[in-house]
Symmetry: C2
Subunit: 345 residues, 2 copies
C-alpha cells in the first residue's frame, strides 16, 4: 500500500503538506501542490479512510438499516420496492456530499435492528437512517453510548427522533376528489387491512371527500380486501369475495379504488373474467404508482404516487444538514391520471 508518507517523500515535502493538498486545509504553494499531485498520480495513492476516521472521528459513512434487500420476496404485498426508492433518494443526497452508504439489512426480522445498529456503531457511521417498510411507528432500541444522529424514513419512532413520512391523507383525498369531479358518484374502495396506518389516513380522506361533495357514504362500497399474513391464494380469495360483493350492489359502482397497484392488477383480471371492460364499464385506480404495474397494465393505471424517493432525500438531508432540534416532515405524492379512469358524462 502506498501511504501518504510515500507521497510526501516522493514529492520532497512533509506528510502534513500532502494532507493539506488532500483536504484543502491550510494554504499550499502552487508549485508544491502540483508536485504533490503528480506524486499521488504516479504512485497511485489512495488515502486510507480508516486512518482518517481514526484521527478525525469522521468516517464518511452513513448507516442505513432497512429491509430493502430482504423484503423483496418475503412479502410480495410490499415487494421491497418502496424501500429501494427510499434508498435511491438517500443516495441522491449522499452522492452530492461524498458520503457512502453502509447498508445493513433486517432480513425481515424487526429484532435484528439492535445488532445492526451495533455494527454501524463499530464502523463509526456519521449518522444513521432507519427505513421502515411501510408507514408505521417503529420501536428503536434504547440509544446506546455510541449514538450518531438518527432519522427514521417512512415511519416514526418517538418525539425525540426526527422522521419523514408520506402524506397518505392528501394522496387519497386528491384521488377521490378527482373521481368525483369526473362525474363518479358510486366509488368503491377496496381497502388494505385497517391495521395499516396508511389505511386509516386514506379511509378518512375517502370519507372526507364524499362529505365535502355532499355524497352519501355507502358502507357496502367500502370493503377490506386484503390480509397481511396469509398466503397468496387466501389473499386472492379474499379479493374475489370483495369483488363479488361489490358487483352484487345496485346500482353498480362506476369506479373502484384499490389499496395498492398490486391489488389493482388482480382486479383487472377478475373484472375481465366477469366480462367487464376497463374503463368503459368501470374505472379502476390504484395506489403506490409501482410503475412496473401502473405503466404496463393495459389500459395504464390511474394511481397515487408515494413519494418514496423524496422521503429518502428529505431523510438524508435531515441527517446531514444539522437542523435545530427534532423534526417531523410529511411529504405529499401526486396522483397520476391514466387511462383506467374515464369521465362520466
Amino acid at each position: 500500500m502506498v501511504t501518504l508518507y510515500d507521497v510526501a517523500k516522493s514529492a520532497g515535502v512533509s506528510p502534513k503538506t500532502v494532507s493539506r493538498v488532500l483536504n484543502g486545509d491550510g494554504p499550499v504553494g502552487k508549485a508544491t501542490r502540483d508536485s504533490v499531485e503528480a506524486a499521488m498520480q504516479a504512485l497511485g495513492y489512495v488515502p486510507s479512510s480508516a486512518a482518517r476516521a481514526l484521527r478525525s472521528a469522521k468516517s464518511g459513512l452513513i448507516g442505513v438499516v432497512s429491509g430493502a434487500i430482504s423484503y423483496t420476496d418475503d412479502n410480495p404485498l410490499l415487494a421491497g420496492l418502496p424501500e429501494i426508492y427510499i434508498l435511491r433518494g438517500i443516495q441522491d443526497v449522499l452522492d452530492e456530499k461524498r458520503l457512502t452508504v453502509l447498508l445493513t439489512d433486517t432480513g425481515g426480522r424487526a429484532d435484528a435492528a439492535p445488532g445492526l445498529l451495533n455494527t454501524l456503531a463499530r464502523h463509526r457511521v456519521d449518522g444513521t437512517i432507519y427505513v421502515a417498510p411501510f408507514h408505521q411507528q417503529v420501536a428503536l432500541p434504547p440509544p446506546t453510548a455510541v449514538s450518531a444522529p438518527l432519522v427514521v424514513a417512512n415511519g416514526f419512532a418517538d418525539d425525540a427522533t426526527s422522521a419523514v413520512v408520506p402524506d397518505d391523507y392528501t394522496g387519497q383525498r386528491v384521488l377521490v376528489d378527482g373521481l368525483i369531479a369526473r362525474g363518479h358518484r358510486r366509488i368503491a374502495y377496496l381497502q388494505l387491512p385497517h391495521a395499516l396506518l396508511a389505511t386509516q389516513h386514506r379511509t378518512r380522506a375517502y370519507e372526507d371527500a364524499h362529505r365535502a361533495a355532499g355524497l352519501p357514504l355507502d358502507p357496502g362500497l367500502m370493503i377490506v380486501a386484503d390480509r397481511v399474513d396469509d398466503d397468496a391464494e387466501a389473499r386472492t380469495a379474499t379479493l374475489q369475495h370483495a369483488i363479488a360483493a361489490l358487483l352484487a350492489t345496485s346500482p353498480l359502482p362506476t369506479a373502484i379504488c384499490c389499496g395498492n397497484d398490486r391489488m389493482a392488477l388482480a382486479v383487472y383480471g377478475m373484472l375481465r373474467a366477469r366480462g367487464l371492460r376497463i374503463p368503459d364499464d368501470i374505472s379502476v385506480a390504484g395506489y403506490d404508482d409501482y410503475r412496473l404495474i401502473s405503466e404496463t397494465l393495459y389500459p395504464a393505471l390511474t394511481t397515487v404516487a408515494l413519494p418514496y424517493r423524496e422521503i429518502g432525500r428529505q431523510a438524508a438531508r435531515l441527517l446531514t444538514e444539522p437542523q435545530s432540534g427534532t423534526r417531523r416532515i410529511t411529504v405529499p405524492g401526486p396522483v397520476h391520471w391514466r387511462d383506467s379512469v374515464t369521465t362520466i358524462t
Copy 2:
C-alpha cells in the same frame, strides 16, 4: 467514546488482554475474561473498526458496485429487481461471515465504476463484487495499485476475473421442451433484442428444442418484440405489431414464450383485448419469474426463474472463500409451471 483502554483500566488488565478477549486470539483466564466482559458491558464499549482496520488491514467490509438502487425506475425493462435479488444472495453469505456491505451505486452510468471502485479502495474493502444489471460482458477499469479481490456477478469481464452468470440456455430449453411435452406444436417466441446475450442463448435453446423434437422452425413465430432504448409507448407499439403478426399466421400458435414476465403481462392484456382466453385459447410463458407479476397475474404465469439470489451467493462465496485461481460459474434456474400453460390433448 469508550475505548479499549478504558475497558482495560476498568477491568484492571492490559489493553492487549482486552483485545484478546475481543478476538479470541491468545488464551485468557476464565476470571479475567469475565471481568473484562463485565467491564465492556458496563461501559457500553463498542470497538472501533477504523482502528482495527488500520492496524490489521482487514476492514470487515465488502464493496458492492451495482445499479440496484438507481436502475429501479430508469429502465422499467430491468426494473432493478434482478440486482436486488443478487444483493440478497450476497447478504446471505456475508451475514454468516460477519461482513458488512459497502454499497455504491452506478446511478445507471457505466462510467461511474472507476470512481466507485476508488471509493471502495479508500475504505479498504476486503473484496469487491461487481453486479451487472443483466447477463453481459462488462468493462472494468484497469486494476489499480489497490486491488482487493474482485468478482463479477451476473456478467463477466475477462479471463483473469472470476464471474458468476445465469444459465440462460438451460432455462429456455427446459421450458420449450416442457411445452412440447405438453402437446404444443406451434410455439411462438417473442424475443428481447438480439443484442442481449440472454437472447442469444435462449434463442439457441428454443431452436435446439425444436430440432431435438423433430419439429420445424417457423421464422414467422420468432419475432423480436421489444427494444432497448425507446420510450414506453414505442415499446408497447412494437409488441402490438408482434402480436398482430403472430395472430395473422395460420394455424395459430398454441403457446407464446415471452422474453420476460413484463412482456407477458402486456401480452395478457393484448390477447384479451382481442377476445382470446388464457390458457384455453392460447398458453403464455414468461421469463425471470418476477413473482410480483408471475404470481399475481390471473391466471398465474408459467415462467423460468433466474437464479439471481444464488448468483449472489456464489459470487460472495467465490470472494470470501479463496479458491485457487480464476473461476467462472454458471447457475441454472428452474421452470415454474403455472396455470397460464395448458396441456393440449
